[in-house]
């Protein structure tokens, strides 16, 4: 963590997300390609699948990164309490 500044976190998150996604996509591509080559008689869909899977994973990761689930939970509970009261 080069910078511990809070304002940089967003940027870093974004970077991570992009990188992560890219990597996953690349990996998916590769795996898909491999699968395509190996298993699926050179069809394109495993590659797309792989890329898609990769992207999906990356997106998912990014989202988790960006979200703050504890705070959400706290908010829901507060709302619930409020509602209860």
């Amino acid at each position: 963590m080069a910078s511990k500044r809070s304002e940089d976190e967003y940027g870093e998150k974004v970077n991570r997300a992009i990188v992560d996604t890219g990597v996953k996509m690349a990996t998916g591509l590769v795996v898909g390609g491999v699968f395509s080559l190996v298993l699926f008689k050179r069809r394109t869909w495993p590659i797309a699948f792989g890329v898609g899977t990769g992207f999906g994973m990356g997106y998912s990761n990014a989202e988790n990164d960006f979200q703050n689930k504890n705070a959400a939970l706290l908010r829901r509970l507060q709302v619930d309490i409020q509602l209860h009261n």
Partner: protein, 690 residues
């Protein structure tokens, strides 16, 4: 050349290498050598050397001059210069001085017989005399001192003269006395001789005349008598001579004594008394001798007279005999004729008759004759007696004179002593009296003085004390003033210190570490400055409190400077803008994307910015408005307002600006504290200035 020589050809030699004959060599130098010219160098060179050394010593090196003075100048002066000067100047005064004492001494005591002791006696006193005046008078003596010296010299000369005269006199008198003594001895001897001679003569005569026994030896006896007479004559002459000389000496002595008595300088010489005594003895003895001789002579005169008479008678008888019988010569062996014998007898009878007649006459006149003789003898005795009396009188007179002299001297001495005693007594009495009077006066004066002194002293003391009191008061005033001033200055100094420390703190807060580039590295821990402030304040409670409010992070890690925060704010603001729509739960990527899109389309400048003094409803402002305000105020330089607004962010923006806010808050806190301290320092400083 050698080759040429080897070849057998005459070598070509340079003309300069040819050896010239001696004469030519000398001539070539131009000056022929002269043999006698060395003498002038013997004189010139040493004198030139001396002159050079003297000049060197004069102008360059005083040490050399000293050396020269010691070794060259002073011996020259002593042995050459001074004697010459003395010779030239010495023929003046000192020679005169030398002449005078000599001239005076010599005619005062003329002595013919013994010139040598005189000369030696004169030489001795003359030699110290010319030494005195011929002494070189030291230069530089004042006139007074010179006078004194002259007088002293003259006195000394006089004293020496007197001494010389006295010694000369003494020696002369001594000589004379010795001479007189020896003469006296001689005289006494001669007297004895004379007396013995006279006696002998008388005896011889007596025997010659009366002795009838030895008729045959009459001639011999008469010869003896003549011998004795001659001897007596000789001795008497001798005696006379001696006595005359002695008398002369005695007279000389007397004259000398008289003169010495008259001469002031030798009046009181003791030897005069001795000389006088000697003279007295000599004269008395001489007189005694003379009288003895006269006495013996007179004693024997009668006998001589008798002898003469007898001789006369005999001669008469013989003449008569001769007249009667002219051709008869007695003593011849011829026999006398009868006639002659008869005539002789007749003559003899006639003579006898005549003689008897004469005898009868004489017997008749015997008494008268005897009386006459007695008278004569008495007269002679009287004369002798007179003479003796005279002698005795003279002797007594001399003795008396001597005694008188002696008494006079004794009396004088005693008188002197008594006078001295009396004078001493008087002086003692006088001194005692003086002492007493002085003591009394001293007491009086002391009392007076003490009184006056005390009065003055008290006066002075009072005045002094008053002055001192004044000064002490002033001094005290000055002291208090100075102390106050010192205290004030101390406070001022402390305030200054505090102010400086606060300034330093402020400076550090404002600048941080200036040389670093990265924002994080600009942080400078404020620990030192704060400690400095704390120390400079002493133990002031206000300062203590304020210092305690400064957060620990500022001490340890330091504080972001406003500039850096401002710079950082840009990024913060932009990021916040991007996530402005997201709340703290975070959000899906979609939300983030939408927020981003929103931020793209919104410009912060489009918002109306609220004034600082307005009341702000924070709830109603959304992040964008907040951000707009904050950035507006940040741009205007109001950091605090910006921070205030930033603090109102919500959700994700808040999280994003969290760090920045923290730092900003830290900075503000610290700055607030620093400002408070500075204000306090200024206040206290200002207090002391006025």
């Amino acid at each position: 050349m050698w080759r040429a020589a080897a070849r057998g050809v005459a070598p070509r030699i340079k003309s300069s290498t040819v050896v010239k004959p001696l004469q030519q060599r000398c001539m070539s130098s131009g000056v022929p050598q002269k043999k006698g010219g060395k003498l002038k160098w013997f004189i010139l060179l040493p004198s030139a050397a001396l002159g050079g050394v003297a000049a060197y010593g004069e102008f360059v090196d005083p040490e050399v001059k000293k050396l020269m003075e010691e070794n060259v100048y002073s011996p020259f002066q002593e042995y050459v210069y001074k004697p010459v000067m003395d010779m030239i100047a010495g023929s003046g005064k000192p020679a005169e001085e030398e002449q005078k004492p000599l001239v005076k001494v010599i005619p005062a005591k003329p002595v013919e017989k013994k010139p040598e002791p005189e000369k030696t006696a004169v030489k001795a006193p003359a030699s110290p005399v010319p030494a005195a005046p011929a002494q070189p008078q030291p230069a530089g003596m004042s006139a007074k001192e010179r006078e004194k010296l002259d007088i002293e010299q003259k006195l000394q000369q006089q004293r020496e003269k007197e001494k010389a005269e006295n010694t000369a006199l003494e020696s002369k008198l001594q000589e004379l006395m010795n001479v007189c003594k020896t003469g006296l001895q001689e005289a006494s001897e001669i007297q004895n001789e004379v007396i013995s001679a006279v006696k002998k003569h008388a005896q011889a005569l007596q025997t010659a005349m009366d002795d009838k026994t030895d008729i045959l030896n009459k001639e011999g006896q008469w010869n003896a008598v003549t011998e004795a007479f001659q001897k007596r004559g000789v001795v008497t002459d001798n005696a006379k001579k001696v006595m005359d000389s002695l008398r002369l000496e005695k007279e000389k002595l007397k004259a000398m004594v008289e003169e010495a008595r008259n001469n002031k300088s030798t009046k009181s010489n003791k030897i005069l008394n001795q000389a006088q005594e000697a003279y007295n003895t000599v004269s008395s003895k001489l007189n005694a001798i003379e009288s003895a001789i006269a006495k013996s002579e007179s004693e024997n005169r009668g006998l001589v007279k008798f002898n003469d008479l007898v001789e006369e008678g005999k001669k008469k008888f013989q003449k008569e005999l001769e007249s009667l019988m002219p051709d008869v010569k007695p003593g011849k062996g011829k026999k006398l004729s009868e006639e002659e014998l008869n005539s002789l007898i007749a003559h003899a009878h006639r003579r006898i008759e005549q003689l008897q007649h004469q005898l009868a006459n004489h017997l008749a006149l015997e008494k008268e004759r005897i009386q006459e003789a007695l008278d004569m003898q008495r007269k002679a005795d009287e004369s002798v007696c007179d003479r003796r009396i005279e002698d005795e009188a003279q002797k007594i007179k001399n003795n008396v004179d001597l005694e008188k002299q002696k008494w006079g001297e004794e009396a004088r001495v005693q008188f002197e002593v008594e006078l001295r005693q009396q004078l001493a007594r008087q002086a003692a009495a006088h001194s005692d009296h003086l002492q007493e009077v002085l003591k009394v006066q001293e007491q009086e004066l002391l009392q007076k003085y003490e009184r006056q002194f005390n009065l003055k002293f008290i006066e002075e003391r009072q005045a002094f004390q008053a002055e001192i009191a004044g000064w002490v008061a002033r001094l005290k005033g000055i002291e208090t003033a100075v102390e106050n001033r010192a205290a004030a200055e101390k406070i001022a100094r402390e305030a200054q210190d505090l102010w400086l420390a606060c300034l330093a703190l402020n400076g550090t807060i404002r600048r941080g570490k200036e040389e670093e580039l990265a924002w994080e590295e600009r942080l400078k821990p404020l620990g030192n400055e704060i400690v400095a402030v704390y120390d400079a304040a002493g133990n002031h409670p206000f300062v203590n409190m304020i210092v305690s409010t400064i957060p620990e992070k500022a001490y340890v890690r330091g504080v972001w400077t406003e500039d850096t925060l401002r710079e950082r704010f840009e990024k913060v603001s932009s990021v916040c803008k991007k996530v402005a729509a997201i709340d703290e739960c975070g959000g899906t990527l979609y939300k983030y994307f939408i927020s981003y899109l929103q931020s793209v389309f919104i410009s912060l400048r489009s918002y109306d910015v609220k004034n600082l003094n307005d009341q702000v409803d924070v709830e109603s402002m959304d992040n964008f408005e907040i951000l707009a305000n904050a950035s507006y105020w940040m741009d205007r330089g109001d950091f605090e307002a910006a921070v205030r607004y930033m603090n109102q962010l919500q959700g994700e923006a808040r999280k994003v600006a969290g760090d920045w806010l923290k730092e900003a808050k830290l900075l503000l806190e610290t700055r607030q504290a620093a400002f408070a301290l500075t204000a306090f320092a200024s206040a206290s400083g200002l207090g002391t200035v006025f």
